[in-house]
């Protein structure tokens, strides 16, 4: 199976996001990017956060590290809810109420993040070795020599063939895939309990994507790091995830194990998503019809009333337009936000 799940881990998840709402106050109105999102990640688990572009996945992820803006939290962001980190030493961190210096001790050490654009995410005027070693020197107080030696090992462990050369190279001298590996090395340097990956394969060539994904599988196998993997690519979810969280218009509309959500989707949006994925067909077979979901995702500055999906939902009723559906949990770790989920079970 993908990664290890510790039994009974749902009692002390590594990360718990409760009713997280993030909105941005702009000149043209308030943009509600994340709306009462709820999910959790257990120890050693890989959770994929899925949704179309604009569903709020990245914002939710950045919120975990309080990086809603280049230098920290933008002054225009308003957050509500709770994000709890339990690294496993008995301590609990309520991220939304931590002061900056505490956050600085968590970032890079307990929670690390890698980003979508490797081309621009590394500092162009410092060598890669320098940037990775920096984490070790700062958090683990290693000397420069120790840090560089450790960095070399790290680079090797992420599959970089010539670590010594890369140590001394500048980011612009490396390919996108290599840069991404450097970032992964940087993120894993201190063995964080949680690794957040924001669509790390989106901006890379397809052939390299597969390599990076393999790297992730290797990380899952060898370390006990929990991974929050954000993607809009459902096939990646199938390869990596233990559990899935589906987001739409800032809300978490369905959660569950990969098997459950893929084989027995409960939310109309999830059903629609799964139907719109092209599936390979054998010669002679009729290719399956691709059925896209009609309409577009709503403007976060101007959300529809009630269930955010109702304008595009084939099964929408008056109730769906009028009231936001409650979240029901038919099973542990399984949740859905729809009025009609029960009657629509099995319907696609």
């Amino acid at each position: 199976m993908n990664g290890e799940s510790s039994a009974g881990a749902s009692t002390t998840p590594v990360l718990e996001v409760r009713n997280l709402s993030v909105k941005f106050v702009t000149d043209s109105g308030t943009v509600l990017a994340v709306n009462e999102a709820c999910f959790h990640i257990d120890r050693g688990e890989t959770v994929c956060l899925v949704g179309e572009t604009g569903a709020g996945k990245s914002v939710a992820a950045f919120s975990v590290l309080q990086l809603l803006g280049a230098g920290g939290v933008s002054r225009r962001a308003r957050q509500q809810g709770d994000i709890i980190l339990r690294p496993g030493d008995g301590r609990e961190y309520h991220i939304l109420s931590l002061p900056e210096h505490e956050l600085e001790r968590i970032r890079g050490r307990l929670i690390s993040m890698i980003y979508q654009e490797p081309m621009t995410s590394l500092n162009p005027v410092y060598t890669c070795g320098n940037q990775v070693a920096e984490v070790l020197m700062h958090h683990a107080r290693k000397s420069r020599r120790e840090a560089m030696a450790a960095t070399e090992d790290l680079l090797k462990s992420v599959g970089i063939p010539d670590p010594r050369r890369v140590l001394k190279s500048y980011p612009h001298e490396l390919s996108g895939g290599m840069k991404q590996r450097v970032m992964i090395a940087m993120a894993l340097a201190l063995h964080p309990v949680l690794l957040i990956a924001d669509e790390p394969t989106t901006a890379i060539d397809v052939t390299i994507q597969a390599q990076i994904l393999n790297l992730f599988k290797q990380i899952q196998r060898s370390s006990g790091t929990s991974i929050l993997f954000i993607t809009h690519d459902v096939s990646v979810v199938a390869q990596l995830a233990d559990r899935v969280v589906v987001m739409y218009a800032g809300r978490t509309v369905e959660t569950g194990s990969v098997r459950d959500v893929f084989c027995r989707p409960l939310h109309p949006y999830t059903k629609g998503l799964l139907k719109s994925i092209p599936k390979p067909f054998k010669v002679g077979e009729k290719p399956q019809h691709l059925i896209p979901i009609p309409g577009t995702i709503p403007n976060p500055a101007d959300l529809p009333s009630g269930c955010p999906f109702h304008p595009r939902c084939v099964w929408a009723q008056e109730r769906c337009r009028a009231c936001i559906p409650q979240v029901t949990t038919p099973d542990t770790g399984r949740a859905v936000m729809c009025w009609r989920w029960e009657e629509l079970q099995g319907v696609s």
């Binding site: 604009g54 914002v59 803006g69 002054r75 577009t296 403007n299 500055a301 304008p311 595009r312």
Partner: protein, 321 residues
């Protein structure tokens, strides 16, 4: 990622973290419009007056000042209370009074009127400089860009030459050769800063040349001149306009400095710089002779700066689309 040296505002941090999203549909089932416009609440097209009211207060203030000054310049004859050239030795170096709002200078001329006329002279000369320089620069830039080869090499060499020697020095040499006369100044100023426009235009023409539309036009046999006018010029406008806003204060400064040193506009004609220079000897007895034009110069510069930044911000936004 724009790495221009604009002093534009920073991109708002919050908006950067806002997810890319499709834009709102007016109706739930509106057809997909594609694109990645930033999320904004639906905004009706604003009327012109509303857009003006939206501007930052500093921009509004400067626009107002510019309008007032332009008015004063164009209608100097009606705005100025006295004849600026009429000496009145009975009224030398008077402090401000009801009759002479800013007092009189060392030969009894009304300072306010003189300042207004000086403003007109300075602005007039500066405009000549800006437009002539831009014209020359654009023409040569296009020539270098389109014709290439030796034409380009020669023109580029000339541009490099002018870049190596500070403009004021060139002016000084010109003045030393041709004499300290007003027409000399005007002639020399018309060549001021042509090279900055030329270099910009040349660069832009080079990149425009690669445009499919231009290649097609040349391929279909348009004469070079036609290509230049129909295809290249329209694309150059925004660059040229920005360049002009950058040059204008520099040229004004050039004229002011030269006139201040006595090498520019000659009496009895007044320019802002000349007045400051003349007033230097009377700083104690009649400080307003120097201070009044100085204040106008500073005001103009401040307005240029604010408006220039604003123009650059506005054209930046369009480029980033």
């Amino acid at each position: 990622m724009a790495s221009q040296q604009t002093e534009g505002e920073s991109r708002d941090q919050g908006e950067r973290a806002t997810p890319d999203n499709g834009h709102g549909a007016d109706l739930p089932f509106a057809a997909d419009q594609g694109g990645m416009a930033p999320a904004r609440a639906r905004v009706a097209k604003k009327s012109f007056a509303a857009k003006v009211a939206d501007l930052r207060p500093s921009v509004k203030l400067c626009l107002g000042v510019v309008i007032v000054l332009t008015f004063a310049t164009m209608f100097a004859e009606w705005v100025a209370p006295h004849d600026p050239y009429q000496p009145n030795l009975m009224q030398r170096n008077r402090p401000p009074s009801a009759h002479h709002l800013l007092g009189t200078d060392q030969v009894g001329r009304d300072i306010l009127s003189r300042t207004i006329y000086a403003l007109r002279t300075s602005v007039g000369i500066a405009l000549i400089g800006v437009f002539c320089g831009t014209f020359i620069g654009t023409t040569l830039g296009i020539a270098a860009g389109l014709l290439g080869g030796w034409t380009d090499r020669i023109i580029s060499g000339v541009i490099d030459f002018f870049y190596a020697v500070p403009t004021i020095l060139i002016m000084l040499v010109g003045i030393s050769v041709l004499g300290t006369k007003t027409w000399v100044l005007i002639l020399l100023i018309s060549f001021a800063r042509w090279y900055s426009t030329a270099r910009l235009v040349r660069g832009q023409v080079f990149s425009l040349r690669e445009l499919p539309s231009v290649e097609a036009a040349i391929g279909l046999g348009s004469t070079r001149r036609r290509v230049a006018v129909k295809h290249i010029l329209p694309n150059l406008t925004s660059i040229i306009v920005v360049d002009m806003t950058l040059k204008a204060p520099a040229i004004l400064l050039l004229e002011s400095t030269l006139s201040f040193l006595g090498l520019g506009v000659q009496p009895p004609l007044a320019s802002l710089g000349a007045m400051v220079g003349a007033g230097r000897d009377y700083l104690i007895s009649a400080p307003l002779v120097a201070l009044s034009p100085a204040l106008v110069i500073v005001t103009i510069f401040v307005c240029f700066q604010v408006l220039g930044d604003w123009v650059r911000d506005v054209s930046d936004v369009r480029h980033s689309d």
